[in-house]
């Protein structure tokens, strides 16, 4: 089972929930931080890192001697990554999405595959569990290619072994968030009962609903704000899986890098129950799950 912990708004408690779920999970588990721009899960799980490697994206490199300046590459490129100045073929590596079109289309074989560094992928052990993360290189704009690399790194390592996976997703509702949650069996949406929390929850529901996986809501900092989030969930038929009470003590525990179930052991049953509800939610929908065979 793959559980994505996501939200529209940042700072609602995704990492808190992901770390707490990992602490109570009762089956072999991998935890994966796909918030590659601002990865924080390792600060709470404290994994012993076994392997860190650079992840690259393929970009074109020009062999000027072969280039006849036919412009087929620059005309194909949709991302303004190639500009033909007549005598020089200029390549802007940072703009390249790695589609490989220019290399394929070039009739002279004047473009060869090169690389741009996306960031790094790390793998290690956090207690009984395995931990994976991506960390975007500072200055790199594109996070989805790195997220794909992290997912495929795990896939290669696991082979046919089936293990549960908890994904700590990035905030927002555009391509990085979609890429993180798209192959999940269940999406756990963490929100807070405030106007910002509600508005961004609505956006997240709208963005993630077409993806198919069932969704449930965790209301963090319950007690602040108002009831509008609960009203929205009941209107939309979104199950509220749990409410995490607000207290300054819990906020302080987070600020010390402590996992919430360790700082407040009385909350352990709440997260065990959340883990069970996520499992049920994913099972309930799995017969209807589309058998998509991606190429």
């Amino acid at each position: 089972m793959i559980v994505s912990v996501a939200s529209g708004k940042g700072g609602t408690g995704k990492t808190t929930v992901a770390a707490a779920l990992a602490s109570v999970w009762n089956a072999p588990l991998d935890a994966m931080d796909l918030d590659v721009e601002a990865p924080n899960l390792h600060l709470f799980l404290n994994p012993k890192i076994k392997d860190c490697r650079i992840a690259n994206i393929e970009i074109p490199v020009v062999d000027e001697a072969r280039c006849t300046h036919c412009r087929m590459c620059s005309e194909l490129c949709q991302f303004k990554a190639i500009s033909d100045l007549g005598r020089i073929l200029l390549i802007f590596p940072e703009m390249c999405h790695g589609c490989g079109g220019c290399i394929t289309v070039c009739p002279e074989k004047a473009l060869k595959p090169g690389t741009r560094e996306l960031g790094e992928i790390c793998w290690g052990h956090a207690g009984e569990q395995d931990f994976f993360m991506g960390r975007l290189r500072i200055g790199e704009a594109m996070s989805p290619p790195l997220m794909r690399e992290v997912k495929s790194y795990r896939k290669k390592l696991r082979g046919r072994e089936d293990r549960d996976l908890i994904i700590d997703a990035p905030p927002g509702t555009s391509c990085p968030a979609i890429n993180a949650v798209m192959d999940s069996d269940v999406i756990c949406l963490v929100t807070e009962p405030t106007p910002f929390g509600l508005y961004d929850l609505k956006l997240a529901v709208e963005a993630f609903r077409p993806l198919g996986p069932p969704m449930g809501v965790v209301v963090n900092r319950d007690g602040i704000g108002n009831d509008a989030v609960l009203d929205f969930c009941s209107q939309e038929g979104l199950p509220v899986l749990t409410k995490i009470p607000f207290s300054r003590r819990l906020a302080e525990a987070y600020s010390d890098g402590r996992v919430i179930t360790q700082a407040a052991p009385e909350l352990t049953p709440l997260f065990k129950d959340l883990a069970e509800k996520l499992r049920q939610l994913s099972r309930a929908s799995s017969p209807a799950k589309e058998a998509t065979s991606h190429a």
Partner: protein, 296 residues
């Protein structure tokens, strides 16, 4: 004209709440919400839209079933795994399609259409603090970086035509595409952090990004009394790494109360509140930092 962008790396550190207060304190400004992915500032400023425009960006591939012979070349060439087949019928998953045109170009039957992608809307609006430029990217859409660049350009045009000398922008979280698009060539970045392990970790990344793009930046430690030890670590690090601290704001439940009231903090808080005074002090330091930048 000077442009300020508020960013944080980590989400939820208080960018929008502080941005709203600064918009109240600043004079003669254009307000701009660059968090087009999850914009929240409108809930504090209640903009009344004067113009509304569609935002198109890039294209998407759509396989025309009647012309497709099912050769599968498109699926082989697609680097984004966006093309799948179900019972011999090939389709493009629009959420995975990056609009690279490779499948369109190489399809031997020319069976793939490539229409423009309607990604969102953008608006020019009026608020009680001044004109506002904002947008909404459709959920799941991409190219937020392009929309950010468009908003900044519109804000500059508006500032020029209305004689405003400050553009104050609420930025997105993270350090990727929309943040880079918000940051490049801006006047000053204000980095909002909080005294938590995640706050300091992500502050360092976003500060490094500012250095990479040579953007002057000031740090604000929000919720600073939540963990004085980590707040101290942030100050020590800022000093060692060469970043100005513009202010420290105490942790206060008023942030949520003001938000529920649809007000910015400096409107909601009484004038003698510690938080309000801290916000005013931080804004004064940012203003004097800009003056020093201009003088230099």
């Amino acid at each position: 004209m000077h442009e300020i962008v508020i960013i944080s790396g980590k989400g939820g550190t208080g960018k929008t709440s502080l941005m709203g207060a600064f918009a109240h304190l600043a004079l003669n400004l254009i307000v701009c919400d660059l968090d087009v992915d999850a914009p929240d500032l409108h809930m504090l400023l209640h903009p009344e839209n004067e113009t509304s425009e569609d935002f198109f960006s890039g294209h998407e591939a759509i396989i025309e079933e009647e012309n497709c012979t099912g050769c599968g070349l498109c699926a082989d060439l697609c680097r984004f795994n966006a093309i799948y087949s179900k019972a011999g019928v090939f389709s493009v998953n629009p959420l995975k399609c990056e609009g690279c045109k490779v499948c369109v170009t190489f399809c031997p039957e020319k069976a793939i259409a490539f229409p423009e992608r309607h990604c969102g809307k953008w608006y020019i609006a009026s608020t009680r603090f001044g004109p506002m430029v904002h947008a909404k990217l459709f959920p799941g859409a991409e190219n937020s970086g392009k929309l950010v660049a468009l908003l900044r350009q519109k804000a500059r045009e508006l500032a020029q035509s209305r004689g405003m000398n400050l553009i104050l922008c609420d930025g997105p979280p993270g350090i990727g595409c929309p943040v880079i698009s918000s940051l490049t060539g801006t006047g000053t970045a204000v980095l909002i952090t909080e005294p938590t392990p995640s706050g300091i970790h992500d502050l360092k990344r976003v500060a490094e990004l500012c250095r990479h793009f040579k953007i002057p930046a000031a740090v604000i430690i929000n919720k600073s009394d939540l963990n004085p030890r980590v707040a101290g670590d942030i100050k020590t690090w800022c000093l060692a790494d060469g970043w100005v601290i513009a202010g420290e704001i105490p942790y206060d439940m008023a942030v949520t109360e003001a938000m529920v009231n649809g007000q910015v903090l400096t409107e909601y808080l009484p004038s003698n509140s510690l938080m309000r005074i801290a916000i005013q002090d931080a804004w004064k330091r940012i203003e004097s930092m800009i003056q020093a930048q201009r003088a230099a």
